[in-house]
């Protein structure tokens, strides 16, 4: 294992840096720097995706034959580090990071030819339809039914926790096509046009007042059989493939490092209790050092995990648990830096990932900008240990992996 970049990788880093420098507008940078959750503001994230797409960089992990960048693990890591350092927003993960690999891995030639280019260009904006009110951690208990009716499947039921479904025009769904011996059997992976008759989307407001999540109701929606990915009744195989991708596909450390830097910079701008700035207070300096130590070890773990061959396996769950818990820890440090201003509700100082429905002031805000964002991030990132397989479920997976 080598922790130093090669000359080629350093040249790649310089190329990425120059590209970001030339193409990131102030407006897009703002959307990345002032995020209140892991979700970028829809319009500006999409605008950034289009800029990346023009360069052929919208999908770092896809093979070049499908329009991806075809980067190595090291290149993807370098890109992620440069991207967050430059303040670019993330590209929505539901299409390119989640549905895309499922289509590449299990889709037909026609599906690849139709969906992948539109996913890259942003013409299709995707949402995920997995969880249901009665099927969260126990995903295999899902009930949304799809009945065979000639060339179509007819789909009815309810999904929940559908990020950005209100702005999505396509969704990838898990639906029940048969009741077989095991609940994992009889599930089908289906692509649904969200503009179809019978689709309705209802907002869910988070404790931070943001509308990012939704419920989706399908009422006898007709979906062509041609939109099934993989085999009928074998969607669990596709879903597991995608879940592993969701859990282990992206490194957390680049963003954690950037957030540590932002926390330290903000701590240099606010008063401490010992006469200097907060960054000089001994108790805060210790906390920051401990966080940097944890991230340094975790970053090296991610290097190890990503350079291993084959399926992500155990490391996907380790990365999901450690990554989200460290993300949450960053928000706790953020609240300390925000100090008394950390109780103010001022989303107008931020770029939330969705519309804000709680009353707040129009544009001016009190205190440092960092402090206005800190409580929103703290509240929103509680979701990290719940979504994509709760951290309790991840620990169950690891326990099985240990033979327990």
């Amino acid at each position: 294992m080598n922790l130093d970049w090669t000359d080629e990788e350093l040249a790649f880093r310089d190329e990425v840096r120059a590209f970001l420098d030339a193409h990131l507008t102030d407006e897009i940078r703002e959307a990345g720097r002032l995020m209140t959750s892991v979700y970028g503001e829809h319009e500006r994230s999409l605008a950034w995706q289009k800029i990346l797409h023009a360069k052929g960089w919208a999908a770092p992990a896809w093979p070049t034959e499908y329009g991806g960048a075809g980067w190595s693990v090291a290149q993807r890591y370098i890109y992620a580090r440069e991207r967050v350092a430059a303040g670019a927003p993330p590209v929505s993960p539901m299409g390119i990071q989640m549905c895309g690999p499922a289509i590449i891995g299990h889709g037909t030639a026609e599906q690849k030819a139709y969906f992948l280019p539109r996913m890259l260009s942003g013409e299709h904006f995707w949402c995920q339809g997995y969880s249901e009110p009665g099927a969260g951690s126990d995903l295999a208990a899902l009930q949304m039914r799809a009945d065979d009716d000639g060339d179509d499947l007819v789909v009815s039921g309810q999904k929940i926790w559908n990020t950005h479904a209100d702005v999505a025009n396509w969704g990838f769904f898990l639906v029940r096509t048969a009741r077989l011996a095991r609940p994992q059997l009889g599930i089908t992976f289906l692509l649904i046009d969200m503009t179809s008759p019978g689709v309705s989307v209802r907002p869910i407001i988070s404790p931070s007042g943001e509308h990012i999540q939704n419920e989706i109701f399908l009422d006898a929606v007709r979906v062509p059989q041609a939109n099934v990915v993989g085999a009928i009744n074998d969607g669990w195989t596709v879903a597991k493939y995608l879940l592993e991708f969701e859990r282990g596909g992206t490194a957390y450390a680049p963003e954690l490092q950037a957030r540590l830097d932002a926390i330290e910079a903000a701590a240099r701008e606010v008063p401490g209790d010992e006469g200097g700035t907060l960054a000089n207070d001994s108790s805060f300096a210790q906390r920051l050092a401990r966080a940097r130590i944890r991230v340094a070890a975790f970053e090296t773990y991610e290097f190890r995990a990503m350079s291993a061959e084959g399926s992500p396996g155990m490391s996907a769950s380790v990365m999901k648990i450690m990554g989200t818990e460290l993300q949450q820890h960053m928000t706790e440090l953020g609240l300390i830096v925000a100090g008394r201003y950390g109780i103010a509700y001022q989303p107008q100082a931020a770029c939330p990932g969705g519309a804000v429905s709680f009353p707040h002031n129009a544009s001016e805000y009190a205190g440092p900008r960092f402090a206005a964002i800190a409580p929103l991030r703290y509240l929103n990132e509680r979701a990290g240990t719940i979504y994509a397989g709760s951290n309790e479920i991840q620990r169950n997976i690891l326990a099985k992996g240990l033979g327990l």
């Binding site: 969260g136 404790p207 509700y345 309790e392």
Partner: protein, 317 residues
């Protein structure tokens, strides 16, 4: 009923009231008015203070204390807010940050540097030269940053003796920590109750998720944190009349224990509710936000650990 003199509320009575207010998630500025504000007025004495105490009981007076500033963190001493005596009047200038309940207040109590040290002044929020920049807080209350530009105050706006406010603020701050801790205990009891009820009704894998031992242990840990917080609040409340260092150490015990419990109980209440914990639709999200505000108010865990370490216990007589 009166809030002054012999009939002033007993700290234990206030503790019981605050716990109930916490459990019901009452948003009204009771803590700011009846606990902090009234205690400052009572200690200051004089006809103005007495009249305001009667006004609180009548429901006509609501108070907010402006103490912290953009240039200070959790220390009580003001930095930039000053008051100068000009003949019979005082002239007040400076800024206060995150004055909780200020947009609702009929009267502001403001700390300022004066020739003799730190003093407290009573200021009308609509007096000429006073500007409020108001905003909501994450727990559904309101606060404001307040600017004072050569605000002219009558002689009787000075509360108590000039230059004597710092020890008073320390003492009333500790009383506020005790009462706010009791509120937090009420909040955490509700968070725990709701979490137990939710996990007993939520079915996954063919059974209530409360059957899973990992969740049972989590809720037991939440319960123990509530018990430690309750105990620390008793300690702080019963030591409010003790010598200053002993009182302050007990208040820091309460603040640290309550803040850590608020975080653990609040975060795990959300976690065990799963996605439902991340909606605005259930009560727990609202209790969690109030608990989060209480964590940092009047000093973070780090601030109170430092204070506890700095204050030596007095030698036994």
């Amino acid at each position: 009923m009166s809030l002054g003199g012999e009939t002033a509320p007993d700290p234990v009575d206030l503790m019981v009231v605050m716990e109930e207010l916490g459990e019901a998630l009452v948003l009204e500025p009771y803590l700011e008015t009846v606990v902090t504000g009234a205690a400052l007025l009572r200690a200051s004495g004089g006809p103005t203070a007495d009249a305001l105490l009667d006004g609180i009981v009548a429901g006509d007076v609501r108070l907010a204390l402006g103490w912290a500033e953009p240039g200070t963190r959790y220390e009580w001493a003001p930095q930039e807010t000053r008051a100068e005596r000009k003949g019979e009047e005082w002239v007040l200038s400076g800024r206060k940050s995150v004055v909780i309940a200020a947009p609702w207040a009929t009267h502001l109590i403001v700390s300022a540097r004066t020739e003799g040290g730190v003093s407290l002044f009573l200021v009308a929020p609509d007096a000429p030269g006073v500007t409020l920049f108001a905003y909501p807080t994450i727990d559904g209350r309101r606060a404001a940053d307040v600017e004072f530009a050569d605000v002219r105050l009558d002689a009787d706006a000075l509360l108590g003796a000039e230059g004597a406010a710092l020890p008073l603020l320390e003492r009333v701050g500790d009383a506020t920590i005790a009462a706010m801790g009791a509120e937090a205990v009420g909040i955490m009891r509700r968070l725990l109750q709701d979490t137990i009820a939710y996990t007993q009704s939520r079915q996954q894998f063919g059974q209530p998720i409360s059957n899973f031992q990992v969740l049972q242990h989590r809720m037991v840990d939440m319960f123990m944190q509530v018990e430690m917080a309750t105990s620390a609040v008793y300690l702080a409340t019963l030591k409010l009349d003790a010598p200053a260092a002993e009182r302050a150490r007990a208040a820091s015990v309460a603040k640290v224990t309550v803040a850590e419990a608020c975080r653990f109980v609040g975060q795990n209440a959300v976690q065990l509710h799963g996605g439902m914990g991340m909606t605005d639709e259930l009560a727990i999200g609202h209790y969690f936000k109030r608990a989060t505000v209480i964590e940092g108010e009047l000093g973070t865990v780090d601030h109170h650990v430092e204070r506890f370490a700095r204050l030596q216990p007095e030698a036994a007589e």
